[in-house]
Symmetry: none
Subunit: 216 residues, 4 copies
Amino acid sequence: MASGGVAAAPITARGRRTRESLVQAARDVFEAKGFSDTTMSDLADAAGVSHGTVYTYFPAKEAVLAAVCNAVVGEVFAAVRVPEDLRADPVTRIAEGNRRYLRAYAAHARMLEVVEQAATTDEYFRELVDGLRGVFVEKAKSTLRRFQADGLADATLDPDIAGPALVGMVESFARRWYVHDGTFDAEQVVDTLTRMWARAIGLPVEHQQSETREQP
Amino acid sequence: MASGGVAAAPITARGRRTRESLVQAARDVFEAKGFSDTTMSDLADAAGVSHGTVYTYFPAKEAVLAAVCNAVVGEVFAAVRVPEDLRADPVTRIAEGNRRYLRAYAAHARMLEVVEQAATTDEYFRELVDGLRGVFVEKAKSTLRRFQADGLADATLDPDIAGPALVGMVESFARRWYVHDGTFDAEQVVDTLTRMWARAIGLPVEHQQSETREQP
Amino acid sequence: MASGGVAAAPITARGRRTRESLVQAARDVFEAKGFSDTTMSDLADAAGVSHGTVYTYFPAKEAVLAAVCNAVVGEVFAAVRVPEDLRADPVTRIAEGNRRYLRAYAAHARMLEVVEQAATTDEYFRELVDGLRGVFVEKAKSTLRRFQADGLADATLDPDIAGPALVGMVESFARRWYVHDGTFDAEQVVDTLTRMWARAIGLPVEHQQSETREQP
Amino acid sequence: MASGGVAAAPITARGRRTRESLVQAARDVFEAKGFSDTTMSDLADAAGVSHGTVYTYFPAKEAVLAAVCNAVVGEVFAAVRVPEDLRADPVTRIAEGNRRYLRAYAAHARMLEVVEQAATTDEYFRELVDGLRGVFVEKAKSTLRRFQADGLADATLDPDIAGPALVGMVESFARRWYVHDGTFDAEQVVDTLTRMWARAIGLPVEHQQSETREQP
DNA sequence: TATGAATGAGAGTTCATTCAT
DNA sequence: AATGAATGAACTCTCATTCAT
């Protein structure tokens, strides 16, 4: 266990291309077969290179997944960032955060599942998953703290407990969501989770749904 | 994939003893090494029997885990049942549910993690995990519906969304909790999650913590 | 390899019954699954006794087959014996021999096939098969010698070559026959093989078929 | 059961060499130990490669035997072909056919025995053996039909019966022959079987042996 | 760089046989 | 005599990784 690490960067343009096509192909294969059921040959075949070539760029199967993860994590963060200039009331900001989080999660759900499979076996991915989650937990904590400081949220809630709980609520919903794909209306989910989120920390929430926004 | 199934019940007392010691030992081994890293030999060694004896009772590694799961699921349900006669206000009942859930989860967290590893690879365990979770989701949904019917909870919340979300909040916290073992005070966690749970669905919650109960 | 040998005769009546039912059941199982695909458990199950009981009567799987063979060989010899008092012309006698041989072979074809499978692996059965065959080869040789002495058959034929060849002709036909079951008319086969047999050694044969006998 | 199939052709010269040496070695090993007693490790050891290398070229033990069979079947057919331009009388042609068949069979007897062992267990080889035999049966049938059409052979013989019987006669002799190796004079065997063959179908045969031909 | 051949540790499984009860 | 639990040798096959070309 406990491997990973990214690996020898290629020098030539040709090398860069080969490596890139490996990462691209690997993503498809991992999504289709999961981590442990994917063999190095699968990866090589999908990229149209020979068996041994994979080892030119990656020291181990884990390293290939790590490279794929890099891309995924980047995409998730990009998708999730709420524009700083969104000057809006707290609930609207929470809604926007949830909306983006759910959307990003849905787009990468299968890949995140794969990483979690790898995490059951490999320290590196365990930390990666924890780290990714930690970012959102930190965001939730600091949001809560700000609201508490502003006298908007219940000051007796411990952010170290409430933070993970709130993230867990949204994440866990998102995780199952893509399984029951199509069952729920996206905006209704956002609205419901947002109101629960807000109320849970003591924010006052009007009864009526937020009218907002385009569909994902 | 997709195996499991429980397996041939032994006939004699001696056989029953052997099978039992295998299941006992397997639980320790699985908790220590996870599912995929455990070999049949590990299980045999831990129970002090020979390699082939395991196959007398279990047709495959999955079947051993399935047998362990049976025990675990039973224990979880037993630990979680809230006495019907607990005549108390809604929040106290929710608190009691969460308290038991968190305690049961903490006691079996490692094993549940192992099952989840197996679930990434085997349909049988995927369904087992989903089924277990489903029981709690259903409970949450019906609790919510009752409160809505009684005019205590926000009637505009869709139980199909709120239910999974609430279970996810508690479960996801429990799941990480055992990792950060000792960090949090159990009653404070129960209290915090309970207030969030209750408020999220619109129940009125007094500011002060529940004083209740013995520590787990 | 090279095992076999029959095995400890049971003393009590009950033991004799158990042993007998094992042999009976074994015959069915061997015919259904062949030798190597049959396990001791199959035999025990079919006889309705426990796994270990088989070893009370037979030291090894081969010994069970050997016991079945005893019965089969006895039946074959019984079925094949041409009544001494059949005073008839040579060709009619040959016909009768072929008729009985083909009939006996057809009745036991599957079992003989099984023994031959065992013979590829076990010296004992190789000798059994050779011995059985040898009996017929000797008969053919002595028949030929008698005809040669009587001036009826070609005296230049070496019985050591012609004997096995003639037996081979009939046996090899019988062996495939039961596969193409129903394709040929039994009497026509007897007649054809008999004429070839007789002519091959130089006996004069009338053109018309033998009118003989009831159908099998 | 029912496997076989030939397998991945190697690409490089080195691969071709390795595969070839595996097939060569396998032939020796199979002849020495039979099919079921040969393990993949035996094959690897005999070829001087590692365990897993065998699996680079053959997906299973059956596939190795299938590859050996390819070679053997080819050799048998090559050895057996009677030159079309052999303008000779019927009996001489039959003699030449038998001579070549016996010689080819003798050269490959042990291997054919091995294949027959495999055939008792594996559909693929059963069909291979049947197919090989079928070729000779068809040849015998058409020979007989031609002689019948030319008025040389007994027209009342059914070729569907006589054909397999004649092939069986020669094959069965050949099969045992290699066991009693050296006992018989090859030309005498050819002569005897040929006269029996010819007479059996009603061809007129002079009493004296064919003087013919070099020894095998 | 790229190829593909070669390696070998290790896993799961089967089953004839032995043995305690 | 009968049972069925226990054994363990043996076998097939997989695949991450190394290496010669």
